[in-house]
């Protein structure tokens, strides 16, 4: 069989159903990566069909190929530089006019384009009838009708793509957009100037390059400078002259005139291929929007949805959490039973299983939260939420869109920071990345549950809610501050299309949910595993510890003492004595463990850094717990488990009791919770911040969050002490 590889790029307007088609074409065989050099998600999928290896690349959804945003640059660059064999343009048939704008830009680029007229059923119900054959004939492009969400026409689409890729034909010159006389003249003049200076290996279509130069496309100008060196000067100068001339002639920038003319060309085509019946259905989406974005109703409904989301996340999530917890316990006892006691067993139980286990139980919460967020996104509600939040976000000087990553931050900061990619302005992105870690992620919740549960028993719920709220307030204040000092806003003109409301499809919901949950799992597999092992090593070593008491001898002593007593005592009393003995032994064991922890490397580090944490009310154990929380904030709880209770698992009453007995005050507990809320994001988040914004911003984020956390905790602890005194 022929195993030729064909590269197919999918492009189209946002909301044209491109992602649905991509999901159906590639299913689960998707690879999510990055476009080189920029932080725009790149999705690829390899499939085998018609005896060919098809590599399908999902380009970012764009309205045009004019480089306004990173997405447009990425999409255009891929087509220009990587030269896919076929480009499939997914066209929203119910919005043909606008879709054809991008489609015509693709045609001008001289690549092999196929039009997928998607959602043709919707177009029909709206009273448009499209003559696909005529369209194909007029534009010289294969046209396939598809209904993405019903999987209709997808096989034919791929078949056409393969055939088209293997045929030698492109778009005939005569079918391309013709501009008015003066512009055409200018194009050919630039083209001549260009052709006199370039070799046969010039990578771009010449006419297209000339058009772009007349449009003053900065990226193409730069490319030309790179390709031609000093020769480019004359070409650019010529283009500039002609631009000025055209601007004088039309009283308008040439790019605007050309856009108008492209639409003119499109209008001509529409006249030929579309018949509109007078039947017009009520636009349901519009009516829903009248309610959901209503001045008075919009916000309460929004709050309700968010409330429902958290309810589902935490109440429904509690069940699988319990199962996972049970599973982990079973696993540890299984390992305990199977393996002989020793370093390896201890490593596996206390290092790997305890460390990763304490984190993995949050998976249900996170999966559910991301499921809800995917639901918001796929139904189209998220865009409305962003609109509703816009006014609040403006307090920080951000657009409503920044709210989406912040909302995700309640689940896990890692995918949240990745989600800032949807923001167009780089400054907005950085600002959002800097404030997102203040959204209290689900990893911080167990810390609150343990501490608030122990010290504020009856008011634990309120305390936790206030903590979440404080995070949001700190985020807003920080945003405001950074906006004024560091990231002075260029208030970019903002326009966003509201996607139509759609019934979500389970498959795409699951794919969305899984994409993000995967990031959480990856973090667990990598960072947290390594971190847990390091903590275990630090707390287990050095093995040879110079104990203040010879515990072994003490235990022997106790054994001997009781053996004597039990032997001489009557049967009824013997049982009681036996219990007493066990308790004393356990006490000794615990004391030994605590001393071990204190004298381990971890304990030494804790003692070393504890002066820093003393003013905020934490002893060396708290300090160590906080330090280890850098690996992942969940780890704070398990470290406390090791350092305070030393027996039983972290969630148990033992820890509560031990904490109360440790001399920790409720004020210190509050101070610690606030510190955990605010201090530096976990290792995985830091790594993501570094990747998304660069080292300087990452360092700023680490230093700033920690400083704020310390100051806030300091004021709470010292202020509280003053008040109580």
């Amino acid at each position: 069989m022929d195993s030729r590889q064909i590269r197919i790029a999918l492009t189209g307007n946002p909301n044209s159903g491109k992602t649905t088609i991509f999901n159906h074409l590639t299913g689960t065989r998707q690879k999510v990566g990055n476009w080189p050099g920029v932080t725009v998600e790149k999705k690829e999928g390899d499939i085998e069909k018609f005896g060919c290896q098809l590599k399908i690349v999902d380009l970012p959804g764009t309205y045009s190929l004019t480089p306004f945003s990173i997405e447009e640059i990425v999409a255009r660059d891929y087509i220009l530089e990587d030269r896919p064999d076929v480009v499939i343009d997914i066209i929203d048939a119910s919005n043909l006019e606008r879709s054809l704008y991008l489609a015509n830009q693709l045609r001008e680029l001289d690549c092999k384009v196929i039009f997928a007229l998607n959602m043709a059923d919707l177009a029909r119900s709206r009273g448009y009838k499209i003559d696909g054959e005529k369209l194909s004939e007029l534009l010289g492009v294969p046209v396939v009708f598809t209904v993405g969400n019903k999987k209709e026409g997808l096989d034919e689409l791929l078949k056409t793509a393969v055939e088209y890729a293997e045929s030698g034909t492109g778009i005939p010159e005569s079918r391309k957009v013709r501009y008015s006389k003066d512009i055409e003249k200018a194009i050919s003049e630039v083209r001549e100037e260009l052709e006199s200076r370039i070799g046969p290996d010039f990578p771009y279509n010449r006419r297209w390059t000339a058009v772009k130069l007349l449009e003053d496309d900065t990226i193409i100008k730069q490319r030309l400078e790179k390709l031609l060196g000093t020769d480019s000067a004359q070409v650019l100068e010529k283009a500039q002259q002609l631009r000025d001339k055209l601007a004088d002639l039309f009283h308008e920038e040439p790019e605007i005139v050309m856009t108008d003319e492209r639409y003119g060309f499109i209008a001509g085509i529409l006249k030929e291929v579309v018949t509109t019946s007078s039947r017009r259905r009520v636009d349901i989406s519009r009516n829903i929007d009248l309610v959901l974005t209503n001045r008075f109703l919009g916000f309460p409904i929004f709050i309700f949805f968010i409330w429902a989301m958290f309810q589902i996340t935490f109440t429904v999530g509690a069940y699988p959490m319990a199962w996972l917890d049970a599973g982990i316990s079973a696993l540890s006892s299984g390992v305990d039973a199977l393996l002989p006691p020793g370093v390896f067993e201890s490593f596996l139980l206390e290092g790997v299983i305890a460390g990763v286990g304490s984190v993995i139980i949050f998976l249900p919460n996170i999966v559910l939260l991301f499921f809800c967020i995917a639901l918001f996104e796929d139904t189209g509600y998220m865009a409305r939420a962003a609109f509703l939040m816009d006014r609040i976000m403006h307090l920080i000087g951000l657009h409503g869109k920044s709210f989406i990553p912040m909302l995700m931050g309640f689940g896990c900061n890692v995918p949240a920071i990745m989600a800032t990619r949807a923001l167009e302005s780089r400054k907005d992105r950085i600002l959002t990345v800097l404030i997102t870690p203040f959204m209290s992620c689900s990893a911080r919740l167990p810390v609150y549950i343990v501490l608030a549960g122990t010290f504020f028993a009856a008011y634990a719920g309120t305390v936790i809610f206030l903590l979440y709220l404080s995070g949001v307030v700190v985020a807003i204040v920080t945003g405001r501050l950074f906006r004024v000092i560091l990231l002075k806003g260029e208030d970019a003109p903002f326009v966003m299309e509201l996607p139509p409301y759609r019934l979500p499809m389970l498959k795409s919901l699951l794919i969305h949910m899984w994409d993000r949950s995967k990031m959480f799992l990856k973090k667990m597999g990598g960072v947290i595993l390594v971190g847990s092992i390091i903590i275990w090593v630090l707390s287990a070593y050095p093995k040879a510890i110079d104990y203040s008491v010879d515990y072994g001898a003490r235990m022997d002593q106790v054994h001997a003492e009781y053996a004597e007593k039990i032997a001489s005592a009557p049967a009824a009393e013997a049982r009681k004595l036996e219990e007493e003995r066990t308790a004393r032994i356990a006490d000794l064991r615990r004391a030994k463990r605590i001393e071990h922890a204190e004298k381990s490397y971890l304990g030494r580090i804790g003692r070393f850094v504890s002066p820093v944490f003393e003013p905020i009310g934490m002893d060396w154990r708290g300090s160590v717990a906080i330090l280890t929380g850098f690996v992942a904030k969940e780890v704070v709880v398990s470290t406390m488990g090791v350092l305070y209770a030393a027996e039983g698992d972290a969630e148990s009453d033992a820890l509560h009791r031990a904490l109360r007995n440790s001399g920790m005050t409720s004020l210190a507990a509050l101070s610690m919770m606030v510190f955990v809320l605010l201090y530096l994001p976990c290792l995985a988040t830091v790594a993501v911040i570094n990747r998304e914004t660069g080292t300087r911003w990452m360092i700023l984020s680490v230093v700033y969050t920690t400083a704020i956390a310390w100051l806030a905790a300091f004021f709470i602890y010292q202020g509280g002490r003053l008040l109580m005194a």
């Binding site: 306004f68 119910s94 606008r98 704008y101 974005t293 962003a386 208030d491 903002f494 326009v495 299309e497």
Partner: protein, 237 residues
């Protein structure tokens, strides 16, 4: 027409004589030919006309004479779109003052004897000998003003109001962006939400858009009811 031209010719003769300008006779021939044209001519075209009448003048000489006439207010020079200078003679005898609309370029002629007398008086008080004068008031005519009052930024439209986009102002990149997203001049919009501050939502066809206030302010619209699809678009000359 004839006597107006004679009047102008006489004035010209008198003036050029006073100013001791050379080649008076040739220049008067050019003046005659110029006065007979009734539209804008370029120096080239006038040279051709003169050549057809059997009077061969060099183009630079014709150009110089036209410039002289312009300097003394007999001709008006216009540079139209292609940048070529065209000349038009001014009817000095048949005097009117003008109001010129900068929007639609309509010219309204008016005459007021009080104004004329006042000008004479002022010139006299300065000891100034007035040969002629030109009075042009630039502004916006009543028709355009009426159109303009209907126009408003999109931000001023109320919830539920249907409007038509009349103009996209602002930089070319934000205009291009709106255009490529499908918001163009003459498109019909319905305002879905407008809280009086912050972003607003509009519907265009089956699409809905969120617009930042800054951008919405740059979209000039007109209420739908009065507007025909391309009704009062600027009618450039």
């Amino acid at each position: 027409m004839g006597n107006i031209h004679t009047h102008e010719r006489r004035q010209f003769e008198k003036l050029f004589d006073q100013e001791e300008i050379d080649c008076l006779q040739q220049r008067l021939a050019i003046l005659d030919a110029f006065l007979q044209t009734e539209q804008h001519v370029t120096a080239d075209e006038l040279t051709d006309i003169l050549k057809k009448q059997g009077q061969g003048f060099e183009k630079p000489f014709v150009e110089e004479t036209l410039e002289l006439m312009r300097r003394y207010g007999f001709a008006q020079k216009n540079r139209f779109e292609n940048g070529q200078a065209r000349y038009e003679h001014r009817h000095l005898g048949d005097h009117h003052d003008h109001m010129i609309c900068t929007k639609c370029n309509r010219i309204i002629e008016f005459e007021d004897s009080r104004l004329e007398n006042l000008q004479q008086e002022i010139a006299r008080s300065y000891g100034f000998h007035m040969l002629q004068h030109r009075m042009e008031i630039y502004g916006i005519c009543d028709r355009c003003l009426k159109d303009r009052m209907k126009k408003m930024p999109l931000t001023a439209a109320k919830i539920g109001e249907r409007v038509v986009i009349r103009e996209l102002t602002g930089g070319s990149s934000s205009r291009l962006r709106l255009m490529s997203m499908g918001l163009r001049v003459n498109d019909e919009l319905e305002v879905i939400t407008n809280y009086g501050q912050g972003q607003m939502v509009v519907a265009a066809g089956n699409q809905r858009y969120v617009l930042g206030r800054g951008l919405a302010r740059k979209i000039i619209v007109e209420p739908y009811s009065q507007a025909s699809p391309s009704g009062s678009k600027d009618s450039a000359p």
